[in-house]
Symmetry: C2
Subunit: 210 residues, 2 copies
Amino acid sequence: MARKEVPSLVKDEKLIQKRRGEMIKAAVNLFKENGFHRTTTREIAKASGFSIGTLYEYIRSKEDILYLVCDSIYEGVREKLNEQIGMTEGSIDHVKKAIAVYFNVVDEMQDEVLVMYQEVKSLSREALPYVLKKELEMTAIFEELIKQTVEQGELDLCEEEVKLLAHNILVHGQMWTFRRWSLRKEYSLEEYTKMQTHLLLYGVKSKSFT
Amino acid sequence: MARKEVPSLVKDEKLIQKRRGEMIKAAVNLFKENGFHRTTTREIAKASGFSIGTLYEYIRSKEDILYLVCDSIYEGVREKLNEQIGMTEGSIDHVKKAIAVYFNVVDEMQDEVLVMYQEVKSLSREALPYVLKKELEMTAIFEELIKQTVEQGELDLCEEEVKLLAHNILVHGQMWTFRRWSLRKEYSLEEYTKMQTHLLLYGVKSKSFT
DNA sequence: TTGTACTGAGCGAACGCTCGGTCGATCCTT
DNA sequence: AAGGATCGACCGAGCGTTCGCTCAGTACAA
């Protein structure tokens, strides 16, 4: 199950990349304003700078756009993550740093992450698995990092705990976007990161902020 | 900002309650299958057991249905919570129990919670605040419980940490629904509850399951 | 001239919502 | 008690509009 290819009527591969890039950018902006369903293909075409006919040279259906958007956002997040996380050996400091980097990326791309997060469910049963797989791959990044930290002896966790922890980290990042209507009022990103990291590692019973 | 009243053309208040109950039940089932936008008012009417004309005697617009659905789900969760959580004094055991109860409720109502969670965003800017307020009230329940535990001296947390912890608990519950495609494969509800509770209280650094 | 990217008027299905009308229950009058 | 008037819940055909998508035609580069 590799990346799903969306067929296009246009031959020039470079041009496809370019046009789809324009499409995705326009679509994200519209989706974050009105959501997927309330956004029309005409609006997307217009905001992309070409006609509705041209739009349909590069996709088969409106849903294809949503898929491309989700795919692109995941790639964006992953790229930024890989840029900044060197995955050599595992250590608690590494985990902390990775969380901070991840939260930063989520914050930078908050609109995109939120849009994707709220709209994936509109994907067809056929396309959904491809996107969920991406989410699992993201989880796996943290899972691997924690697992190595366990192997280094800095943490004592079983397989299942490692997995759940990875899920929690991911969700705490996403939560910064989908609960921002409340969290933003209470905390800055730095405060949020620091507190979540502390709670994650030390829980509430041991009091020793670092 | 009390509960928003949705006007109806029908006079009989009892009947309104009854019909809206039927409507909500039908709508939740359809929403969880196809989402709000892909569900038609005709489908809702039919599944409710009356005609499209009658449907519109009890609401003004399709969005009213979504609002009623969200409202009803919140009330359902809160009712079940209050039933089972006696809020006398605060203690760590109380917090643990409250989490377990909450996770159980979320599990019982997973379809409803998931639907609400995925569709609130489709509410108009006018109706949204009423629903977000409900979410804050839910958070406040846990906030209060934790605060009292702090006051009892069983926990040492500042105001902001208490708040964040309450948010985390709520999200961990919701997460059980919106990540069930993955979590369900890994854990039973009991395992999930136990592990999340432990991580929440003790973090990953101290190893002592109870 | 041929191939390819692009255009946008137009098609047809679907959808939210309305409104004229039906009909049983209830009230009023004699 | 009977007949008529009124009420109000319920109905569903149909209106107006929107929206995803198509395709016959154009522009232009090679």
